[in-house]
Amino acid sequence: MLTLHAIRKQFGPTVAVDGLSLEVGAGEVFGLLGPNGAGKSTTIAIATGLLAPDSGGVDILGLGSPTARAVRAHLGLAPQEITLYGELTARENLMFFARLYRVRDARRRVDELLASVELDVRANDRVAAFSGGMKRRLNLAAALVHDPKVVLLDEPTAGVDPQSRARILELVRELAREGRTIVYTTHYMEEAARICDRVCIVDHGRMLDLGTVSGLIARHGGQTAVTVERDGSEERVLTTDPVGEVSRQLATGGVTGVRVERPDLETVFLSLTGRSLRE
């Protein structure tokens, strides 16, 4: 379990995180969404103890602050950047991190992870020669090498191909099924909707809302749009009962096409954070 208690962090005049409180349970995939500069990465850095908050606190698994070494041993982080050594092979990278965490039977653990991210056949190749997707998968594997109970993934699918993305998302779900606490940040709304049990939308360091994807859509998504084509023209109707509306339209006759646009997480996101461009 990961708990943030009213954390606040300011860089000069900029308030990066403004009194954010969260509680993420075991086996949960928790989505942290927000536009660029919303404070997601700062929140992750504070949650992992890499950055000290100006006020507030962090508790990991009820053991205390992640600044304590014993607590950090339970944390896994896959940062937004590819934090691997390009001149080392995939296996050497994972073995290095395994040694750092004093993983027992490190070789077996590394082999398992290489297989799970489907890099076992490239295990002895230098990371510098990997594609973006391969690097991302290995970056995730490096965060898991010590079998952490709390895993923080900062945009783990940024810039990867659909196959790598699919594999990473599968892995994240597997991790949650194993009972790990997962905090996941992303800009891909469909990804968050697909794997997150709960989502928190932040902007300007503040929490705008928190809930399940369906709950957020219900609260902020608005009505479903039903577009009906008839005699070469289109009619758009907003409704809370799209099935009933489509039935009604079909009953009137002359309908050549129907399109239903349900509100999704992106609608919610834009509704809460606005459409103005960010940094």
């Binding site: 860089f11 850095a45 992992t48 103890g49 890499l50 950055l51 070494r69 014993a70 950090r72 041993a73 944390l75 982080l77 940062p79 937004q80 950047e81 590819i82 934090t83 691997l84 050594y85 991190f97 750092l100 965490y101 490096a142």
Partner: protein
Amino acid sequence: MRALIAIAQKDLRLLFRDKGDVFFTFVFPVILAVFFGFVFGGGGGASRIDLALVVESDTPMAAGMAADLTADPSFEVVRHDSRETAIAAVRVGKATAAVILPASMKEGVEGLFTGSGIPIQAIVDPSRKAEMGLIQGKLNELAFRQFPRLFADGEAMPRILARAREALPSMQGLTPTQRLTAGGLIMAGEAFSKSLAPSPAPAPGSTDAAPADPAVDAAAPAPAAAPATATTAWSPIAVTIEELPQTRVRPRSSFDVTFPQGTVWGLAGCIGAFAAGLVVERSRGTLARLHLAPIARWQLLGGKGLACFTVAMIVQVLLAAVAVVAFGSSIAQPAMLLVAFAASAVCFSGLAMLLAALCRTEAEANGAGRGAILILAMIGGGTIPLFFMPPFLRTISYGSPFRWAVTAIEGAFWRDLAVADQIVPILVLLGLGIGGFLLGARAVGRPLVR
């Protein structure tokens, strides 16, 4: 044309925004030109030879010689109270030669025309053979320059000439013509000396204060052990040049000198690579990942330092091994050499940490950072041996850690310095290393910098 200009403008803008490129394109060439200009004597800053001067003689000639040596633009003279300290200065490389104006100069002066010459000694650093000839020539020149004063000394000169006149009959190996000529010269000298001497009040019962008068001569300060020994060739000045006696070894070849200098570049490469590596780790986020591991900060930074230390040690040992195996160098003090290597490795590991803290980006580390290292290495004796540098550059070189490394390594490699003489450079290296490490670790040790 517009496109062409746009591309050129863009490239120039890129060049000027990269501090490393700006440094190596515009600043570094100027520094190189100025440095070598000074080294080769440009700007009136010609290189001077450091002398450790010991004046044991109280003769006016010694005083005149000391003054002339000090004023000579070829020399940078430091007075010492004893031979021991002067020789120690040569041994540790602070002076090229120890020049001794011995007490026996007095006897030499007294027996100017009859003895084996006025003795002047110089003990030269054996690694500075090239300068021996210059030192010998200059000492002869300056000694001869004292003669007009000596001849004009109305007190000493008559006594010296009287002794010469006394000794002339017993001199062997002179042809009658030479004997006659010498006698004539002595008489002429006496006449000249009398003409210069202030008219003394005639002594009671005497008509002249003739120095030839045995009574007067006997009353003169004892010319002590200046026996009018017979000699076959007259040599008024006897400059003796000796190489500094080494207790065990001396440089067998120039490689003994150049290999310790080569370590400068090994250490420069080491500090550059590790500082840049640390900056890369920080900027690419791997350092943050390391901070997340359940290890203490000192373990993380210590691990980084240990890697740099190990490479620095390997580089130095490798260079020493090549010098010994391939070029026949012999190591005077192997144990002390290892201590010097270790101190240098500590120094440059700490400085790598400091440099990493000062450089924010990889470009800065690879450009300005490596440039600074190059300059420090040049000033510290990496390109030109310190003794070829003009005095002010040599003074500046004390600010370069490379100088201290060369001094410490040379001391154990071939200079065979006493341990006491090696303590200072080793302590300086350790101080710089520990200080640099602590300062650098404060910044590098911070998990995230925003």
